[in-house]
């Protein structure tokens, strides 16, 4: 993926560029808001990573300007301000996701990979399949290998999110944000237990497990034998 990092902290930007390169992406870097806006306007990127506080033109203004141009490149806002109202303001200005500093790189990576495919047309498909697991959005039903699986509403939303992002790492924080709409960290491992319940319903009685735990990062729903 081509990624534009607009970040004035050179050390942080260098670290981020290297880590993204190692993960197989192609990062560009702009050190201030004006340069960032210029680059975003003149090249196609899959994802923008925009720091909120920037010299010359702040991150939110960069996004507003791009959105006013009709540029809909998905954008992740990075900010030292992590409170709810800051997040809301960030998303209102055209950001697609918001990550508070300091963050774990695995978290950032998971988020940009999910962001990059967020606007793809297959999102609109009514039936999503991963291996022999099948989720019907219209009927709100889940089947694996033809067997109906009964899920609680929250389990359904959890599975839908995982399936929509199949093959990608999804962190606990992302699940809390997307499925529960919470932006805080519970002290207890609440998500793990929900995942293990879901796992017992979709994986236990069927051969190959689809729902994997990615150590140090989160979870991934994956077809073990891609066609």
């Amino acid at each position: 993926m081509r990624i534009l990092i607009i970040e004035d902290d050179r050390e942080a930007a260098a670290y981020l560029s290297r880590a993204l390169q190692e993960s197989g992406h192609g990062p560009d870097h702009a050190a201030d808001g004006e340069a960032g806006l210029h680059m975003a306007r003149n090249a196609r990127y899959d994802v923008l990573i925009v720091d909120r506080m920037l010299p010359k033109l702040d991150g939110l203004s960069v996004l507003k300007a791009l959105r006013a141009d009709g540029n809909e490149t998905p954008a992740l806002i990075l900010s030292a301000l992590g409170q709810v109202d800051d997040r809301v303001e960030g998303l209102r200005s055209g950001g697609d996701d918001y990550l508070a500093k300091p963050y774990a790189f695995t978290e950032l990576l998971a988020r940009i990979e999910v962001l990059a495919r967020r606007r793809r047309p297959e999102d609109a498909e009514t039936v999503v399949r991963v291996g022999d697991l099948e989720l019907d959005r219209l009927a709100h039903s889940v089947k694996r290998g033809g067997t109906n699986i009964l899920l609680q509403p929250r389990e359904y939303r959890l599975l839908e999110y995982l399936m929509r992002n199949a093959g990608k790492v999804v962190t606990r924080t992302m699940l809390l944000e997307e499925v529960w709409d919470y932006h805080f960290d519970p002290q207890t491992n609440v998500i793990d237990v929900h995942i293990s319940r879901l796992r017992s319903k979709i994986d236990r009685d069927f051969g190959e497990p689809l729902l994997q735990t990615v150590r140090g990062a989160g979870y991934m729903l994956r077809n073990p034998m891609p066609a």
Binding site: G82, Q83, V84, D85, A100, P102, A104, R154, W180, Y182, H183, F184, D185, P186, Q187, T188, N189, V190, V193, H194, R197, G216
Partner: protein
């Protein structure tokens, strides 16, 4: 010059100058008015007495003719301090009286001459000129009579008044000056004392207080007001210092641990090193979480999120959190019960309320267990008067009554909880969120166990909104 400017800048001095000016002006007006009134009165008296005398003289002339009149006039004129009397020929030459010389036009005009005119009279001290007013009337034979009054007395009166005026204004200026010096200097001295104390406080002597004389005047009231403010600031300062001490202490432990692990990771290799690095990251995350929690608490406490309050379904928020925690609680071997009255609306922030309730649920799972009792957690939400009341009860060891106040302080951790993971900030945040919502957090005995009770005011129904 500089000193004069300093003195003039004192309120008391400015006030005494203004008072002196105003009183001086009023005094001058009063004195002028009184002089005017008195002079008028005197003039009227003079006129009346002259009129009466004229009538008497007319009558004498009618009874005893010109000779009788002259005799009578001579007699009156001889009396000491008497009026002016003149009998003159139609030509204007003086025939009899106590006047030696007079302006001729006075005698030439029949009637009053109010304009003071000059004349000279026979007297022991030789001839001296005086001012007088007079009335002239004509006898049937063409001769004229003049009766007048010397103005020496009114003149004397006027100078008396002038002297009184000068004296009183002088006295007033003197008193004003004295007040100025005394009050102004006193005020200056008090202000000086206050600013000395302030400077000492500023230079670090925190225990110093502003002087209070005990007279109860405005300076005293101001000083004691400022003193209680200083006391309050001192108290807050103390609390703040305690918090930062606690932060330093609470962060030193994990940072030391972090450093030790980094040391160990440096000499480790392969999988062991991976493992050590992962632990380091986990520890760092924990420290970051502590900082975030601290920031969040102070932000909530300062009320800056208050603007974000909106109408929220408290019942739905509680239901969501209960549903989030139910699997964990059951996994941990708790019996998990909920009894939630639906549709309780509050003015609030969903995210903050959810986080507060989730902190209480975390605590129940962490501490709500004891060896003797069935592990049980219950969420109960109901309506009590104007409040939505959520109670989260467990059957653990509970919190001793004397510690219930303390547990909401930052970093407060009770002895039995020190060994468990946690940062001692969870309940501080719950208390702060309760306060932001004008509600409160309290603890009760669940017999056995702890009952954490969160009261949030129900949203007032807007009239006409309907149901």
């Amino acid at each position: 010059m500089q000193r004069l400017r300093t003195i003039l800048s004192i309120t008391a001095v400015r006030l005494s100058i203004v008072y002196t000016l105003v009183f001086g002006f009023v005094a001058v007006v009063i004195v002028l008015y009184m002089t005017g009134a008195t002079a008028n009165l005197l003039r009227r008296q003079i006129r009346e007495s002259i009129n009466i005398e004229m009538v008497q003289l007319d009558r004498i002339y009618a009874q005893s003719g010109i000779n009788g009149l002259i005799r009578q006039l001579e007699r009156r004129a001889a009396a000491p301090g008497a009026n002016l009397y003149v009998i003159a020929a139609p030509t204007g030459s003086i025939i009899a009286g106590n006047v030696d010389e007079i302006e001729t036009e006075v005698l030439g005009r029949i009637g009053w001459t109010f304009r003071p005119f000059e004349y000279s009279r026979f007297s022991a001290d030789g001839q001296s000129r005086h001012a007088a007013v007079a009335r002239v009337s004509e006898l049937p034979n063409g001769m004229r009579i003049l009766v007048g009054r010397d103005l020496g007395e009114p003149e004397k009166f006027r100078s008396l008044v002038a002297r009184a005026l000068i004296l009183s204004i002088g006295a007033m200026l003197l008193v004003g000056l004295l007040t100025w010096v005394l009050v102004g200097r006193r005020a200056l001295k008090r202000v000086e004392l206050v600013s000395q104390s302030t400077n000492r406080i500023l230079s670090g002597e925190r225990h110093v207080r502003l002087p209070v004389t005990g007279s109860g005047d405005e300076f005293d009231r101001l000083s004691s007001g400022l003193n209680s403010m200083l006391d309050r600031i001192g108290l807050l300062d103390e609390g703040l210092r305690q918090v930062s001490d606690n932060i330093a202490h609470d962060l030193k432990t994990p940072l030391t641990r972090l450093r030790n692990k980094a040391d160990a990771a440096m000499i480790a290799s392969g999988a062991n090193q991976q493992q050590a690095l992962q632990e380091i990251i986990a520890d760092t995350d924990q420290i970051i979480r502590t900082f975030n929690a601290l920031l969040m608490i102070s932000r909530v406490e300062s009320g800056s999120s208050a603007a974000e309050l909106s109408s929220e379904d408290f019942s739905a928020i509680i239901l969501d959190v209960a549903e989030l925690y139910e699997p964990v609680a059951e996994e941990e071997g708790f019996v998990f019960e909920t009894s939630i009255e639906p549709g309780l609306k509050v003015r609030g922030n969903r995210e903050l309320l959810a986080q507060a309730v989730s902190n209480l649920a975390d605590n129940a799972i962490k501490y709500g267990r004891s060896d003797n009792n069935l592990a049980r957690i219950s969420f109960t939400l109901g309506r009590e008067g104007e409040h939505a009341v959520l109670s989260i009860a467990d059957a653990g060891p509970g919190i001793p009554a004397q510690d219930r106040q303390k547990v909401t302080e930052r970093f407060a951790r009770l002895e039995q909880s020190r060994s468990r993971p946690g940062n001692g900030l969870g309940l501080s945040l719950v208390a702060a969120v309760a306060q932001l919502h004008s509600g409160m957090l309290e603890f009760a005995d669940n017999e056995p166990g702890l009952k954490a009770i969160l009261r949030i005011p129900l949203e007032k129904k807007i009239r006409g909104a309907g149901e």
